[in-house]
Symmetry: C2
């Protein structure tokens, strides 16, 4: 559901052609957000139709490279999406997308949502810790139990790491004009 906004944010960072976007989504952006060229061209077409972006054909008539640029309406749509899309703990890559939007178009008031995500992650961590105490307190664990414990520990460590990161982020995000 966030693919069009991922593209809008990438275009706000730097106006590009569909091909350039596809390359950017293969490299840097692709580390936390994926989009194939087919998705990109489809969404670009839709977003031109919606009036969110304009397209300028570049180079000679033979070379049909098209550079897309976000219009004020599209910019406002990004801001609206950041404000109104309520995220869950599982949407961390989407939150990173919101951070990129916040970096490229002024402060958008992410402090409140960050606060809530921290609370939810804390609650989930506490649930995991309870399962840990209840199910993995035994001295000797079978191989299967060791693996199940490892799966749980993946969750515990992920929440712990994210919480530490999020706390550090609060200081930056909090100076906001919500």
């Amino acid at each position: 559901m966030s693919t069009p906004h991922a593209i809008l944010i990438a275009l706000l960072e730097k106006p590009s052609s569909g091909y350039d976007l596809a390359r950017r989504f293969d490299r840097a952006i692709g580390y936390f957000w994926q989009a194939t060229h087919q998705q990109i061209y489809r969404e670009l077409g839709r977003m031109v139709a919606s009036g969110w972006v304009t397209v300028v054909e570049e180079g000679a008539a033979a070379s049909r490279k098209k550079i897309y640029r976000v219009l004020p309406v599209g910019r406002e749509e990004v801001a609206r999406w950041v404000r109104e899309t309520r995220l869950g703990v599982d949407d961390r890559n989407v939150f990173l997308l919101k951070l990129r939007a916040d970096a490229v178009i002024g402060p958008l008031g992410l402090g409140e949502e960050l606060r809530r995500l921290i609370d939810e992650a804390s609650a989930r961590l506490e649930t995991y810790r309870e399962i840990e105490r209840r199910d993995f307190g035994a001295a000797q664990l079978t191989r299967a139990q060791q693996l199940q414990y490892a799966i749980l520990k993946a969750g515990i460590q992920t929440q712990t790491q994210w919480l530490a990161w999020a706390e550090e982020l609060r200081a930056i995000v909090s100076d906001e004009a919500a």
Copy 2:
């Protein structure tokens, strides 16, 4: 692409009805793998057709609760999927699924894939560290730069945490009959 296998593994852990599966996917399983009841019923139907699972109707004729159980063919399909599906660094939840499969049906030889995923995560971490040195060495960073740095740090910390977890796991996974 792994939804049917997620369901098979859940059924290997405990034969269940579609409704029970949906609940399990809402609770414990749902922390790292999602499936709605519509997906579950569709896949159960397909898997019965494929001969991977059998269904036993329980209770009176009026109450039409159906308990699904994995057949040997389905069990072998899980083993095949674990062996033959090549994962990337972004498929960590899928790797956790493979671990659950390994816990429920004997050792499946995950050591090699774990080794490769560790190598790939190390390489990605090194890429992130290079970007860090190149782009965020300055003493004073603007707000936008601080946010971009925070996004990068999320990646760095995620890889670091995962690598530590994976190294710990190697000891358990390595005693394998590949």
